[in-house]
């Protein structure tokens, strides 16, 4: 059974600081996703990582994937208040389509 664990589950940061969210998964997966969810809103896709060593960056967020360690990281650089949200990682297997298995999410709060 494919399981996904994120840590930390809650993260309070000061603006300008750096931090990393970790996502571990239990069995081999084809790809890994990072999503953002604002309170009361749906999920917004941030990154899809498809291969070992993949690194993607968008603004102050950078995601990486180590398939051998079954680990993905989401690194936040010089956090700003607008990044406050819940971040989910999710994995799947079985080709380009198939249901996602989600972690419990990391609730990020960036304070001035």
């Amino acid at each position: 059974e494919l399981k996904v664990e994120q840590n930390p589950l809650f993260l309070s940061m000061q603006e300008g600081k750096n931090y990393t969210i970790y996502c571990n998964y239990s069995t081999t997966s084809d790809r890994l996703y990072w999503y953002r969810q604002d309170p009361g809103k749906s999920l917004e896709s941030l990154f899809v990582l498809l291969s070992n060593g993949a690194v993607k960056q968008e603004g102050r967020l950078m995601a990486s994937l180590d398939t051998k360690a079954r680990l993905s990281t989401l690194h936040i650089t010089a956090a700003v208040h607008d990044l406050s949200a819940t971040y989910f990682c999710a994995v799947t297997y079985g080709g380009s389509q198939g249901n996602l298995i989600f972690g419990k999410g990391t609730k990020l709060s960036v304070k001035p």
Partner: protein, 113 residues
């Protein structure tokens, strides 16, 4: 272009009643997924439709839950004899054949009183 839409956005129902939730995927998306998100939790997979293939129902929590999809269009998720533990946000997602990214709708918030 239009994204995934869901209706209603909110639904309050009494315990024991049946409810129907609707999802309109993005046009041309052959795959459609239903997920459930309980308060403060991650998403749980419920059911997956791919074109005209038999759906993957492995995530449905009980036989009170069922879903239908007509071809590659609208899907309805039906919950019979609702229970308080069914209270959650029900999210629908869709994607194109051979595409990796799933696009999520805004969700239906179901409250069972």
């Amino acid at each position: 272009g239009a994204g995934v839409s869901q209706s209603p956005s909110n639904k309050v129902t009494e315990k024991g009643k049946d409810v129907e939730l609707r999802c309109d995927p993005i046009s041309g998306h052959t795959a459609l997924y239903w997920y459930r998100q309980r308060l403060g939790q991650g998403l749980e997979f419920l059911i997956y439709f791919q074109g005209n293939s038999a759906p993957d129902k492995s995530g449905l929590p009980s036989d009170r839950f069922s879903a239908e999809r007509t071809g590659e269009s609208v899907s309805t998720l039906t919950i019979q004899r609702t229970q308080q533990e069914d209270s959650a946000v029900y999210l629908c997602a869709s994607n194109r054949l051979a595409a990796y990214e799933q696009y999520f709708g805004p969700g239906t918030r179901l409250t069972v009183t």
